[in-house]
Amino acid sequence: MNSDLVINDLRVSVEDKEILKGVNLTVKAGSIHAIMGPNGSGKSTLAYTLMGHPGYTVTGGEVWYQGRNILELEPDERSKLGLFLAFQYPVAIPGVTVANFLRAAINAHRAEEGKDPKETAIPMAQFRKQLREQMAALGIDEGFARRYLNEGFSGGEKKRIEILQMAMLEPSMAIMDETDSGLDIDALKIVAQGVNTLYAQHPEMGVLVITHYQRLLNYIKPHFVSVLMDGRIVREGGPELALELEEKGYDFIREEVASA
């Protein structure tokens, strides 16, 4: 079974407007892969489509993961297959505490066909311990466990809670959509450390990091960098590509694409 995430000629429309125009990209298991690209180029569209957001219509292509074309799966099935998306704009769930939400998510992952969910559920004490440890590692105040998910959270707090969820769910393929935006420099370091720790514990994990800034990539070091522009991957390279972009901006790639 292939643990790489293989995207073949993916075409996606939103409200009849084509946003992704044939994306080809492989995120290798065990690799950290950065995607950069100008505003509106389709990065979030790609992230949402990989996770199965119903608002994005796939008009062509395939996405293979663990031997399945995941485009045929529901979002919760993709999650159980090991996919995770840290949202650029996480939504609030009023009345549902961070702890209860996480427990529901973990138990959904542990559920097995034909078994009583009570049997497969994580023991309360184990859950509490795990949650406390992960929150401490990410510098999240314990009080957040009892707060309603993302309700009234600051931008930075929301991003930390996304990474907390990732750490608790231990995905095999994590997509992070601009997790660095809205984070101050200390929070950025803590969040990056959280990701690196998880990656160190699960070296087979694939990570797709969407970002605008080299700053994040100083802490989460990518093996590969791809550039998405106007719905297509127009350039692929190693970490040096991100540095080049930082220095020159996107114009030089635009010119290359135009003259090609």
Binding site: P75, D76, P94, G95, V96, A108, L169
Partner: protein, 405 residues
């Protein structure tokens, strides 16, 4: 248990009302009140309620309980030591007649409509709660009303009196042990809060599926006093509850939350009225409704800011969640302002299906669609459930909500 009942309503006369009141040893003033109310009931047309379906309701055939078998009270600490009284209203007539005479009907006018008059004429069930000056009762006090005879009727009358500085939690619960034929409940609860008193009032309606519930509740709130009112409406075929908070004293406050969940063909109406009368009164209302199947709910609210009030703060939120396209929820919020001196008044209202972005977010974490909807609905009601003081009751309500989803 043997039950005393009235004959069917269609066969009751003034003379019988008098006779039964006298036989119970009631004071003359009360007998006179009952007869007057009975006459109103017997002669008045049924109220015309556009949004409460009484077309299948046959009051003539109703057989009302004539004793207090439907009333149970529960408390967990020694009340007598503190001078707190929690007994049936019938019993309290013997010990607290003057207080009862002074307050009975002083919040809710019996002739507002036919069914309030019926309650005033025939009540036997119901409790009397009196909390003396500056006394705090730590643990919640509870009155549970259940339907004693299948297909019967109860008309509980509750009188809650908090002296100045008193502090208490009171739960009134309407509860069926089993679904039955058409049954009828017409309860009335009057609440009086002295200066600086605090009342946490929790009203839970979890009747079986064929009950008609036509009720009224009103709180008159004194200077500096606070009422925290939480209502849960889950049961009954038809519910029509007129509820009122009257912020009479300066600096009086209400925090008012409600959770209504209708399914099947339920028709549940809540008509909360809020009156700002005193200066610097403050109200926060948060009413939540979930509708499913072919049910129909109404929020028929009215906020009145009276001429003499000043520096009023009033905030109303009402939100409805639709779990199926055939269900309907109407919201008719009204606002009448007779003063120029409002500090803040606001209203927010939403109505719609479960949010797709929330669903997607939850599903992206592995939570299946149905479970995600469960979590969203229980989360939606959480601010109300949070105020229910007994763990066992909260769990039972949560289970009922789960089962309805």
């Amino acid at each position: 248990m043997t039950m005393k009942t009235f004959p069917p309503l269609g066969e009751i006369s003034d003379a019988l009302v008098t006779e039964m009141s006298q036989a119970a040893g009631e004071p003359e003033w009360l007998t006179a009140q009952r007869v007057e109310a009975w006459r109103f009931f017997a002669s008045a047309e049924p109220p015309y309620w556009r949004r409460t379906d009484l077309s299948k309701f046959r009051p003539e055939q109703v057989i009302a309980a004539a004793d207090t078998a439907a009333t149970s009270v529960y408390y967990e600490e020694d009340l007598t030591e503190k001078g707190v009284v929690l007994v049936t209203l019938e019993q309290a007539l013997r010990s607290h007649e003057a207080l009862i005479r002074q307050h009975l009907g002083a919040a809710i006018e019996p002739t507002r409509h036919k069914f309030l008059a019926l309650n005033a004429a025939l009540w036997r069930d119901g409790v009397f709660l009196y909390v003396p000056k500056n006394v705090t009762v730590e643990l919640p006090l509870t009155a549970v009303f259940s339907m004693p005879i299948p297909g019967g009727a109860i008309m509980p009358r509750n009188l809650i009196i908090l002296d100045d500085g008193a502090n208490v939690t009171f739960v009134e619960e309407y509860h069926s042990t089993a679904a039955s034929d058409q049954a009828f409940a017409a309860p009335v609860t009057e609440m009086f809060l002295g200066n600086d008193a605090t009342l946490r009032f929790i009203a839970v309606q979890t009747w079986g599926e064929d009950v008609y519930h036509i009720g009224a509740q009103k709180a008159r709130v004194g200077r500096g006093a606070t009422i925290e009112w939480a209502a849960v409406n889950l049961g009954a075929r038809v519910q029509h509850i007129e509820a009122e908070t009257s912020l009479e004293g300066d600096g009086s406050r209400v925090e008012w939350v409600a959770a209504t969940f209708a399914g099947d063909h339920q028709n549940l109406l809540t008509a909360p009225w809020l009156r700002h009368i005193g200066a610097k009164t403050e109200a926060h209302m948060d009413f939540k409704t979930v509708v499913k199947d072919q049910s129909y709910t109404t929020f028929d609210g009215m906020i009145k800011i009276e001429r003499q009030s000043r520096a009023t703060v009033s905030r109303l939120e009402e939100h409805a969640l639709h779990l199926s396209p055939k269900a309907r929820s109407d919201s008719i919020p009204g606002l009448m302002i007779d003063t120029n001196d409002v500090a803040r008044a606001g209203h927010a209202s939403t109505s719609g299906e479960v949010d797709e972005e929330q669903l997607f977010y939850m599903r992206s974490r592995g939570i299946p669609r149905d479970d995600a909807i469960h979590l969203i609905v229980t989360g939606f009601f959480e601010p109300v459930l949070d105020r229910i003081p007994h763990d066992a009751l909260r769990r039972r309500i949560a289970d009922m909500i789960e089962a309805k989803i």
